[in-house]
């Protein structure tokens, strides 16, 4: 696996597909949730409108260099994550730049955008954004823990850290999926998945009903556009990782679309039926339930 | 060793111990000093019995003589001091 120039357009194409898929899918999920709540919800193209609108807005406001760079970090994190993970197994062109590093790279790169965003919001100087950041970080770190354990369990199970090889090992039938070969690890990982998608009951950080806190309140116009872009591709990128290592990956775009949608629905469904946790409740929850499962996963391998 | 000597020794020994007890139990310091001097004096006699004339002389002169006077000198000083 070495670099060739043709990989650049390939990767851009993948990015384009995922972006559009994400824009549509998040709208659909939101609409579904609204319907469950008895509201009409947004049109499915609402995300496109927002994006275009925000890009079109002009702003002359900046609070400083980090503030300015925050969204850049955020979006770079999302795009980078997509680039470092192979999207479609077996495809010659949807491998992106996954030759640069393996699962560990993906796992740690998740923090890149988070860090940048937090720093950017921090410079805005508004204490509410700082509160949002500290809450968000506290919760995310606790939530990611079962995932790290699950990844380690999987890596031991397959004796590799390469995502491609993990996917390859799950080919040849439904029951080769990690979901069935190592259900405990998957369960652990799903704690993390639900916890990091920022949906109820773990959405106190960005919940609109709370006092307006967190990074989104500080950004507007093009900044917000970048962040919105990220908000559609980053969950997809993360879902791709889960799909790859737990659910047999995807051998074509259709399988990709279905699997991602279904996975994405899990937190959405949970969110619809559960009230919101406070942050320390979330942390306790992950330590009390997610962590033991993760530990079990490691011990069972 | 004659029985006489032995008896003499025993008597002196008892005298010494007796004087020592007096020196320790008496209420008067003057008596105590004098009794202690007496112990020394008996000791020097004892030394003669024990065939140690050199020691006997020394004990008599120093132990019972000079020491006792030293005590009285100091006691005198202290008494004068206390009167002030």
């Amino acid at each position: 696996m070495t670099f060739e120039w043709i990989q650049v357009p390939y990767a851009l194409a993948t990015l384009f597909i995922i972006l559009n898929y994400g824009l549509l899918m998040t709208a659909v999920v939101q609409k579904l949730a609204a319907r469950v709540g008895g509201r009409p919800g947004i049109p499915v193209w609402q995300n496109y409108i927002d994006l275009v609108k925000n890009f079109a807005l002009r702003s002359k406001i900046s609070h400083g260099v980090m503030y300015y760079l925050g969204p850049v970090f955020r979006l770079s994190g999302g795009i980078g994550l997509i680039f470092f993970v192979p999207t479609i197994y077996g495809s010659t062109w949807a491998q992106n730049f996954s030759f640069a590093g393996d699962l560990i790279l993906a796992l740690y790169f998740i923090f890149f955008g988070t860090l940048g965003m937090a720093l950017g919001a921090g410079e805005s100087g508004h204490p509410h954004s700082a509160i949002g950041v500290s809450r968000g970080l506290a919760q995310v770190t606790a939530a990611e823990l079962p995932m790290a354990l699950a990844v380690y369990a999987i890596a031991i199970q397959y004796q590799t850290l390469s995502i491609t090889e993990i996917v390859a090992a799950q080919q040849g039938g439904l029951f080769n999926w990690t979901l069935f070969t190592n259900p405990i690890a998957v369960a652990a990982a799903m704690f993390a998945y639900v916890g990091t998608t920022m949906r109820s009951p773990f959405d106190v950080v960005i919940a609109p009903q709370e006092i307006p806190i967190g990074p989104p309140t500080e950004y507007h116009s093009a900044y917000l556009a970048l962040m919105q872009t990220n908000r559609v591709i980053f969950p997809i990128a993360k879902t791709i990782i889960y799909m790859n290592i737990f659910f047999g990956g995807a051998t074509n775009w259709a399988e990709f679309a279905i699997k991602v949608f279904l996975l994405y629905m899990i937190p959405a469904v949970i969110g619809v039926v559960h009230p919101r946790f406070r942050v320390e409740q979330s942390i306790r929850f992950f330590l009390k339930w997610g962590l033991p499962v993760g530990v079990l996963a490691i011990l069972m391998v | 060793m004659s029985t006489l000597m032995l008896g003499l020794g025993l008597v002196i020994a008892l005298a010494m111990v007796g004087a020592a007890v007096v020196a320790l139990v008496t209420r008067s310091t003057v008596t105590a000093v004098l009794a202690a001097g007496l112990v020394s004096l008996f000791a020097s006699v004892f030394f003669v019995v024990l065939a140690a004339p050199d020691v006997a002389m020394t004990e008599a002169a120093i132990g019972s003589g000079l020491t006792t006077f030293l005590f009285f000198f100091v006691m005198g000083r202290i008494r004068r001091e206390g009167e002030k």
Binding site: - | M1, M5, L6, G9, L10, A13, M16, V17, A20, V21, A23, L24, T29, A32, V33, A36, V39, S40, A43, F46, F47, V49, L50, A51, A52, P53, D54, V55, T58, E59, I62, G63, L66, T67, L70, F71, F73, V74, M75, R77, I78, E81, G82
Partner: protein, 118 residues
């Protein structure tokens, strides 16, 4: 004889020590120590004593040739002489100290001189 002397000496030592440690009057402590000193001297001399022999002085009665059969051990006596003088020295010194202490506090009770402690 030697045992009598030894026993006497030891009794004096013990009595002296007991007196020195139970009498709170400084002068009486010193008196007690002189008694103990005397006891030590008696013990020392007693150790050199050998029944039926004479003082370690060579004269017509004790010629050099037979001296080692006739005289008692001279060494303890020599030691006692030294010990007596040293004992006097210390006693005198303690007395001088007693005087100093009395001047300090107008008391001869040893339990009054405890400002240095812990």
């Amino acid at each position: 004889m030697a045992q009598i002397a030894l026993a006497t000496g030891f009794v004096l030592i013990l009595a002296g020590l007991y007196g020195a440690l139970t009498n709170r009057d400084i002068l009486r402590m010193i008196v007690a120590f002189t008694i103990a000193d005397t006891g030590v001297n008696v013990v020392l001399v007693a150790v050199g004593y050998m029944p039926g022999r004479t003082a370690p002085i060579l004269d017509a009665a004790v010629p050099v040739a037979v001296a080692s059969q006739r005289i008692i051990d001279p060494v303890p006596q020599a030691l006692v002489l030294t010990a007596i003088v040293i004992g006097l020295g210390i006693t005198a010194l303690m007395l001088a100290y007693a005087y100093r202490l009395f001047r300090l506090r107008h008391s001869l009770d040893i339990s009054n001189f405890t400002e240095l402690k812990w």
